[in-house]
């Protein structure tokens, strides 16, 4: 029946990877302390299916330039999607690495100057573990 087929399709694709204990490096060999991973390191381990268009948008660049001194979004976003480009004086948006948490929409920008929507269906972050 179609519903099973639908399920099979969605479950057959993108099976979350199993953790194979034998494939892991011996933790004692790795040593400690390890350097803290950067956000880029972290995002490199997350699977994304980026859309071509951004689902995030700065509403008014003047607010970033003149009103917002501390560039809150560059700190509040857990995926470091927002960066202040000091030469161009704009916030750049690396939407491809967005974890879709909604922080930027819920006070992560205290000026409410970020428009966040969800990516189109089937695009964006795909957690293997979650």
């Amino acid at each position: 029946m179609s519903i099973e087929a639908e399920q099979e399709r969605s479950s057959g694709k993108e099976q979350p990877a199993e953790v194979c204990p034998d494939c892991l490096p011996d933790p004692e060999e790795l040593g400690w302390p390890q350097p803290a991973p950067t956000v880029a390191n972290r995002l490199g381990l997350v699977k994304f299916k980026p859309d071509s268009n951004s689902h995030l948008r700065i509403i008014n660049g003047e607010v970033c330039r003149h009103t917002c001194r501390r560039k809150y979004c560059t700190h509040s976003c857990p995926a470091q999607v927002y960066r202040w480009e000091s030469e161009e004086k704009v916030i750049s948006i690396a939407f491809e690495g967005c974890l879709e948490c909604g922080t930027c929409r819920s006070g992560g920008c205290p000026y409410g100057n970020i428009e966040m929507r969800y990516p189109r269906g089937g695009y964006g972050v795909q957690y293997r573990f979650g």
């Binding site: 399709r9 509040s76 857990p78 879709e100 006070g107 089937g122 293997r128 573990f129």
Partner: protein, 449 residues
């Protein structure tokens, strides 16, 4: 609309086109949405569940546990089949400082036998399993489909507009289970606007791989059993929040959750707090050598009872995180989502008998929730989040104070016990004036009792 357009691209040709009209549409394939979908399909309702991810669970993460009994109320004996990581036999609470931890631990063999108490899971797999159960019950599972807006007729919700071309779907009733970012609840006029920072916590989490026997040795666990550790104090750099460590089969989940308005105001980064947390010596010992496998982030609606949106309207119900159903004090959310989804479905079933889905008929959902543990618990802790954000000093001060008292008390040196008692009393008073101590405890008792 042409029903076949509803279907995701790249089909295998075997699938029957979905109709464009349903008895009920559920938006979101998480615990709330899937409990609703499963319950409705099981009762023979023609129900479609729309999920924006490639599969149910692909957008979901949690720094918490799946509690056995509430989950079994919707999916009986799920532990025989569901993809679970470990059954939790030990719950720990730590008050940590930069170099010490005071630990309270409860362990029970009861928790290691059916019906168990709680499980660690990977939500990407667990939610997918829930969606398979809903599909088996006869529901239309439609993944890769974002609902962009609601369809209205004479002031009532009559369906949804999906992101697919011509993808309008109609239904007698729409259950909004879209998660914490409640776009549709806002569009339905049930929520006033985006969730507010003072009602949200941001959680960031890492999944760290470690061979399972090492996990069991390190956490002192029986084979297959798990531990859940909740940590208050230095872990969040004095900001109101907690750290957590959960054991999975061959990974450890480590994360921090912080109240969002404090975090934003501090201009500290959630991942920096997580870095600090992982370096705390007692935490580091448990996770050292474990390799990073995944990083995730999510908002948790911790505002509680006072900040919930309206739960129903004409032709529409709201459940789970979208409805703000999280008990932050006990770290419960998925169970409340499952139960509220089930109750939304039961509401729809009873309204179907009368053939009306207006707000007056759907309003029994609210009554049902009020009479259940979902809203009883949320009401009980309705002042908790206010208390925590107005008492930020508790997250730094009291763990430090207790640690210094315990350190002095346990350090055997050349001081007589009488002198030591005087020292402890002095130490105590110097850090917390008695009046503010009484005030804190009174307010804690008032708001958290």
């Amino acid at each position: 609309m042409n029903g076949s357009q509803v279907h995701p691209a790249g089909g295998d040709g075997k699938r029957r086109p979905a109709p464009s009209r349903f008895g009920a549409i559920v938006v979101g394939g998480g615990p709330a949405g899937l409990a609703a979908t499963y319950t409705l399909a099981g009762a023979g309702v023609d129900v479609a569940c729309l999920e924006r991810g490639d599969w149910c669970g692909s957008k979901n993460m949690m720094g918490g546990l799946i509690f056995s009994q509430p989950t079994a109320k919707v999916f009986p004996n799920f532990w025989h089949e569901a993809p679970l990581e470990r059954h939790v036999t030990r719950r720990d609470m730590w008050l940590a400082t930069g170099d010490s931890a005071m630990k309270v631990s409860f362990e029970s063999t009861d928790f290691g036998a059916e019906p168990y108490n709680s499980f660690t899971v990977y939500r990407s797999r667990f939610d997918k399993w829930l969606s398979r159960r809903a599909a088996e019950a006869g529901a239309w599972m439609i993944p890769e489909t974002l609902v962009e807006s609601l369809l209205w007729e004479d002031g009532r919700v009559v369906g949804v507009r999906t992101g697919r071309p011509g993808g309008d779907l109609e239904a007698d009733v729409v259950i909004i289970a879209e998660g914490v970012n409640h776009f549709l609840a806002e569009a339905a006029g049930l929520a006033a606007g985006p969730p507010k920072a003072e009602t949200m916590a941001l959680a960031v989490k890492e999944v760290l791989a470690l061979p399972r026997d090492r996990i069991e040795d390190r956490f002192d666990l029986d084979r297959g059993a798990g531990a859940a550790i909740e940590i208050i104090g230095e872990t969040t750099g004095g900001l109101p929040g907690t750290g957590f460590i959960y054991t999975n089969r061959d990974t450890i989940s480590v994360g921090v959750g912080v109240l969002l308005d404090s975090l934003v105001g501090s201009t500290r980064e959630a991942y920096s707090l997580l870095d600090n947390f992982k370096q705390q010596p007692q935490v580091r010992r448990l996770i050292q050598g474990a390799g990073l496998r995944e990083y995730s982030a999510h908002l948790i609606p911790e505002g509680g009872y006072r900040y919930m949106p309206r739960l129903f309207g004409d032709g529409v119900l709201v459940a789970g995180d979208a409805a703000g159903m999280v008990n932050a004090i006990n770290s419960e959310g998925a169970n409340l989502a499952l139960l509220s989804g089930q109750m939304a479905a039961q509401t729809v079933l009873s309204c179907r008998e009368e053939g009306r889905f207006d707000a007056a008929a759907l309003g029994r959902y609210r009554t049902m929730l009020e009479n259940s543990l979902v809203l009883k618990d949320l009401r009980k802790y309705s002042s908790a989040t206010n208390f925590l954000s107005s008492h930020q000093h508790l997250f730094g001060l009291y763990p430090e104070l207790l640690a210094s008292l315990a350190r002095e008390f346990l350090t055997v040196d050349n001081m007589s016990k009488a002198d030591k008692e005087r020292l402890l009393a002095r130490l105590f008073r110097s850090q917390v004036p008695v009046r503010s101590l009484i005030k804190d405890f009174y307010q804690a008792w008032r708001d958290l009792k």
